[in-house]
Symmetry: C2
Subunit: 460 residues, 2 copies
Amino acid sequence: MPAAALPAQDGPRGADLVPITRLADLAAADRARILRRAQGTFADVLPIVEGVLDAVAARGDAALRELTAQFDGAALTDLRVSEEEFAAARAGADPVLLDALAHAARNITAFHSKQVPPEDVVAPQAGVRLWRVWRPITRVGLYIPGGKAAYPSSVLMNVIPARIAGCREIVLCTPPNRQGQVSPTILVAADLLGVRQVFKLGGSQAIAAMAYGTESVPRVAKLFGAGNRWVTAAKLVAASRGLAAIDLPAGPTELLLIADETAPPAFLAADMIAQAEHAEDSASVLLTTSEPLAHAVRDELTRQLGALPTRAMVVDSLQRYGLIALVASLAEAIAFANEYAPEHLGIMTRDPAAVLDGIVNAGSIFLGPWSAQPAGDYAAGTNHVLPTGGFGAMYGPLSVESFGRKLQVQELTRAGLAGLRSTVGTLATSEGLPGHRAAVEARFESPSEGSTSEEAGYVE
Amino acid sequence: MPAAALPAQDGPRGADLVPITRLADLAAADRARILRRAQGTFADVLPIVEGVLDAVAARGDAALRELTAQFDGAALTDLRVSEEEFAAARAGADPVLLDALAHAARNITAFHSKQVPPEDVVAPQAGVRLWRVWRPITRVGLYIPGGKAAYPSSVLMNVIPARIAGCREIVLCTPPNRQGQVSPTILVAADLLGVRQVFKLGGSQAIAAMAYGTESVPRVAKLFGAGNRWVTAAKLVAASRGLAAIDLPAGPTELLLIADETAPPAFLAADMIAQAEHAEDSASVLLTTSEPLAHAVRDELTRQLGALPTRAMVVDSLQRYGLIALVASLAEAIAFANEYAPEHLGIMTRDPAAVLDGIVNAGSIFLGPWSAQPAGDYAAGTNHVLPTGGFGAMYGPLSVESFGRKLQVQELTRAGLAGLRSTVGTLATSEGLPGHRAAVEARFESPSEGSTSEEAGYVE
């Protein structure tokens, strides 16, 4: 398909930047590449990561210092960030950035505060009361990358739901530079939310430290936070060893857009660029019912890329995992979107709510032209920790629920148990568990029944 | 500590059956054994399980037939249960059992129906609307053991929340006997709930079939159901390969009881026996503030065990992982319970609600003497799929939420985005993502802005 005529400009454009094709005509191999995107396996890093976990389990802090010297080039004495380092980060912080973090934190708090509804008591029959009680996970661990990908916004997205959940202790690990210092904006964000247990640890050794616990680093029950492949592999190994639960498998970030002829091409192109600038393995896909729109978006991509500092990265990822595909109907777009299960889904159509009704697999959904995806990444209030690589078909976004669970409670009276007596007996007998039947029967035969139950106030 | 005088009787009793000791005096090794119970690692079975997954991935149904011949001794032509087999199971079913299953199903439905609350829209600032939409996982897979541990109640506990969640397709695997037949009570329970895709597959090959999909067995997005070590290991490998999500790691079943002097010894003993009869690796622990009660419970254990058909199993598991421990206070019992994180927690004290307030780690909690644990296993309505082996510190009981997730939705107006504009710009710039700032700015600079937004109805 020929590219529209464009003004002369450096670098790839038109079909060299991103192809336009009918979705139905997409070659099987290309379709598979687009659906798989950069989702990889961890087979190559697993042996290294398992060795790191074993070393930290066996030798604790000593292993952490060696691994940090080896992988980060930093010689640490204290693994934990000191009060002086926190104070220096605060003193050096840009007030405009602090205001922005506070603004984002307010909106994130507003959205997440609604996420733990009180549970009603259910009484399925007389004398049987059932309910659930919310309990936060006591101690949780959070990994925050450093270097280029040191995102204070990710501190907010993890810590705020943990705080709302009621987690008592939050342990945060983030890698040091060669001078043994961690990102001051990470420290400022942690400080803003009262997180004081910050350790200078990166990669799989950080996960190992929180999964096993060491002399310095407390052991946690659940691990949160996205990282590179080593970090993700270490989380998977920790979970499969039964050491800790994990939030969700995270991979390269991605956006799928569904648009009809009412969508502004400049907005679509802008969102695709924002997504593609993250890394060379990010994915940006546009599905549209309008061929003129498809070409207008490609023209806009070329135009907007002109002066962007991250232009090279955008070009690279668009060429790998980018696509503009024409669909015969919105139904065709919805079906592909559900197969893709995008982390971010933008819907710019005449009736976005109608498209939303058909979506079953996605992370975070942006309705209409003004719902710019970076607003959700930073400040609208929704969480930006989302399932990638097709995991949107089975996992949901990070939420307050991720930081705790609802324990079941049942309270029966004598009459309540009597009403279940024969059913429990029948089922227990059928399953070959006579002691289960006996445990109910004993309560109606026992001489201690009357007095004790009255004393304890359990008689109706 | 001397055992109370008991009538002469065969088999172990008193201290030979279960020790009574002060919790504070428990030797470190015994304390570790009690806390660890039968929770094992999967290191020994992982290579076998990985081989099974690889074989099924490579050769589909042919591999399933070979593995079923090898492990189950059954030569299968059709892997799927036929309509005739369903009809035969229905025809042969005991009407009393059918009534009991229907009764349990009603209560389970009543409790689980409350578990997906509608989400309110949150508007953290003008023009910014945020909410979550519930979406079931489209296709889920369920493993149900066969043989001695063929529990139709587990079919109810998994399928009912899946149905309430709205899962469109439920695939069920259960192992065949040497004649190629599966448990008729499993079939009857599946039939009762409209599950028709039942496959004659057991062990890790069943998990492999549902994780990869074969010619006969559909691929599922999430795997449910407890099984033996091979099944659990296969689920963990499937999850770590990114093939499917899993419910929760399941292991041997367990009960911890907290009692004071108001508790009826016969009830406590009956619950301990019911728990211990499951398997030789089940655990039953009683913590009590009353020394006379401790001895009375041990006497009751001996008395109630007298004629029980599962006596040998109970004795075996009590001797391995059973304990009656004296505590100085209910606070000491609560602290140990939270460290143990029991699957089932029974509270028989003067004020059970006060003890419940202190509990943070447990699966399902039974308040007061009439809340017999088998009632929760079968028919009260709560779920019996619960975290074991200490996983109660991080995972919750199976619930409707396990079968879907809430996708995030955001809808911004022009004014809404304008209100976030500078905050998003500041944060994006600070994180080195200029394209994110540009995606917002483009919307306020673009010539296509006015007309399209009005057409689409997004202007406030």
